[in-house]
């Protein structure tokens, strides 16, 4: 049984896994790229080794080098987190071949579920409804896809077979724009997963994205931890997730849970995994894909189910039986997660890079922040723009929303733009409060500006504060000239100015 784990990731999820290890008394090995030398995960781990330059394919995607470091450092297992190497069956196989434990499913399960096209086949054979799309598990060429597209029907989605997180995904309205989109999807897929295979899927309009969390041990025990609501997306990137879903009733919950367990059993699944589905207005659901890894949004499930999913993953990999039976799993309250991204919601969600000079993290009852950044962190353009996750728990969904509102107002990040204003507007949105939304809600129906209209603003207060700050700065400048006349109050001006001009 291993006592040292290498975490093949960075950012908040590396820190999340490091914390779980620390709480289990397990030693940790971090790996990092050159730009991440000062990162929290490097400082937090027991050991840390350099992988290479910043670009992922020269660092966090270098599977061989990572395995070599694991062997050298005496780590007995590798946790891949999400993204990077998490869903690469070849990497999982190489880890196994090196005599190490891969904290995740077996290569076979990753292969058959991680490849979205094969997963669809598997599910169809098991009688699970799937979203219509290109069948077959061959790697289809652009020509073949263009031929199959009219059969699938427009609008449709191009998806990366190795995909996840909306990367390599493109919406196609008609056949004319398809060739260009095929190319850009392949390029993004390759950049994100090192694999440019893609397939087509029909878009089900007005649907919700609901997913079921699975846990399975090495002894064939499989349980599900109910659903997460992940319909709030922009460009197929999830922005906000909830557990439970306001839309899912007990009957649907049980039907989806049963299918999810069946799906996991069909591939002898082990570790944590997620069955993603689309649910239409009539509560029919369609299998979308299975994510054979930990997900970004796992904390909302942890908060309402009282299960630590990462610790369970580690326990399972250590050969322990599941700590819970299905009947132990009860929904307690409601949880919401806002992904805090370094991007400007007032400017087309443009990623924002720079140095975080100051950060205030919300604290107090019912709040959890999973983060890998801190005051002093540099946000670079090399990795994705998520800087932290703000998760709240409430006795009810309404209370969770009110708490999230409070937490978002407390959260301050100076140095980069964040999407906090977007989440604040969402918390004030009536359709969101009413639980009335679908996967295209953010793009088609939601307007930050519209919501802002009704809110009280304080331009006069801002004017007074801005003027006083500027005035003190001017005063300071005048005082510095008469340096000998300085007194303590001038020091005050000076320190203010220094702070402002940093």
């Amino acid at each position: 049984m291993f006592n040292k784990v290498l975490i093949a990731n960075r950012g908040e999820i590396a820190v999340r896994i490091l914390r779980a290890c620390r709480e289990l008394g397990i030693q940790t090995v971090a790996v990092y790229s050159e730009v991440d030398r000062q990162a929290m995960h490097v400082r937090y781990a027991t050991e840390a080794y350099l992988l290479g330059p910043a670009p992922s394919n020269e660092s966090y995607l270098k599977g061989e080098k990572i395995i070599e470091i694991a062997l050298k450092s005496g780590a007995g297992a590798i946790h891949p987190g999400y993204g990077f190497l998490a869903e690469r069956a070849d990497f999982a196989q190489a880890v196994e071949d090196a005599g190490l434990e891969f904290i995740g499913p077996k290569p076979y399960a990753i292969g058959s579920m991680g490849d979205k096209a094969i997963a669809r086949e598997t599910m169809m054979k098991a009688g699970v409804p799937v979203v219509p799309g290109t069948g077959g598990t061959d790697n289809l060429s652009d020509e073949e896809l263009l031929e199959l597209a009219p059969g699938v029907g427009f609008p449709l989605l191009i998806k990366a077979t190795a995909g996840g997180g909306g990367k390599g995904m493109r919406e196609v309205k008609n056949i004319e724009e398809m060739p260009t989109l095929l190319q850009s999807a392949r390029r993004e897929a390759n950049a994100s997963f090192g694999n440019d295979n893609i397939y087509l899927e029909k878009m089900i309009l007005g649907a919700r994205h609901v997913e079921i969390q699975i846990l399975a041990d090495k002894f064939g025990n499989v349980i599900h931890l109910n659903e997460r609501e992940c319909s709030l997306q922009r460009r197929h990137q999830k922005l906000l997730e909830e557990a439970p879903s306001a839309f899912v009733d007990d009957d649907l919950r049980q039907r989806m849970g049963d299918v999810a367990v069946k799906a996991a059993e069909a591939v002898d699944y082990e570790s944590a995994g997620t069955i993603e589905c689309l649910v239409d207005a009539d509560k029919n659901f369609y299998f979308l894909e299975m994510n054979t890894r930990l997900q970004v949004e796992h904390p909302v499930t942890e908060l309402v189910m009282g299960v630590d999913i990462v610790k369970e993953q580690i326990r399972i990999a250590r050969g322990r039986k599941l700590s819970f039976a299905q009947e132990d799993i009860k929904i307690n309250g409601a949880a919401i997660e806002c992904r805090i991204n370094a991007e400007d919601p007032h400017n087309s969600f443009m990623p924002s890079t720079g140095l975080i000079s100051h950060a205030v993290i919300p604290t107090g009852p019912g709040i959890r922040v999973d983060t890998g950044v801190y005051a002093g962190s540099e946000i670079t353009p090399y990795y994705d723009s998520m800087i932290s996750k703000l998760i709240v728990w409430g006795e009810t969904r309404a209370q969770a929303i009110l708490r999230m509102r409070r937490a978002l107002e407390e959260y301050k990040v100076v140095g980069v733009r964040t999407n906090i204003p977007f989440h604040q507007a969402m918390m004030d949105s009536h359709p969101f409060m009413g639980g009335q939304f679908h996967t295209r809600f953010v793009e088609e129906e939601f307007s930050m500006e519209h919501i802002a209209e009704g809110k009280e603003t304080f331009p006069e207060v801002a004017a007074i504060i801005a003027t006083l700050v500027q005035h003190e700065e001017t005063e300071r400048a005048a005082h510095v000239v008469r340096r000998n006349a300085r007194d303590t109050s001038n020091w005050k001006w000076l320190s203010r100015w220094e702070r402002l001009s940093k």
Binding site: D384, A466, L468
Partner: protein, 165 residues
């Protein structure tokens, strides 16, 4: 000292009377203003109402975050204001807009050609960064001037990409 302070485009006339009093648009208010140690945080109490503000230099203006909302502000004293008025034109309204890369990245595609007319909001080019493709749009109507990059170029932050004239 008198200032003209612009908040999100709206002008206020603010005078600092003494340590505890300012007037805003002619109305005198009693202020209790404090700079919080070691933080870019200020506390203003007016008539018992408490406002906490984060104030920091933005790219082009002073940014003021109050009660979860960001205000863009510009503070000019009367002298500056007169000078600017005397110069006749507002620099910001004239001249050429230079599109600069908001972050380092890869030019995926350029959607316009030199000499082409564009409207505000038209996509000028696509920059890939942080694994995302980002559309850079024109902030106003105009004609495309010189394009200084081509598809596939790696660009640095703030590098000039093209101009709208």
């Amino acid at each position: 000292m008198k200032y003209i302070t612009t908040i999100d485009g709206k002008e206020f006339s603010v005078e600092i009377i003494d340590d505890r009093h300012v007037s805003i648009d002619g109305k005198i208010v009693e202020v209790d203003f404090e700079s919080v140690r070691a933080q870019p945080v200020f506390s203003l109490i007016v008539d018992g109402k408490s406002y906490e503000a984060y104030v920091y230099e933005g790219e082009e203006d002073l940014e003021v975050l109050v009660k979860g909302r960001l205000y863009h502000s510009k503070v000019e004293d009367e002298r500056e204001r007169r000078l600017r008025a005397a110069s006749g034109v507002d620099v910001a309204d004239s001249g050429i807009f230079h599109l600069k890369a908001p972050m380092p990245g890869l030019i995926v595609s350029i959607s316009v050609e030199e000499g082409q007319e564009v409207k505000k909001g038209d996509v000028l080019l696509i920059l890939e960064s942080m694994k995302m493709q980002n559309e850079l749009k024109s902030p106003r109507d105009g004609v495309i001037g010189r394009i200084q990059v081509t598809d596939g170029d790696s660009v640095e932050q703030r590098q000039k990409l093209l101009s709208v004239e």
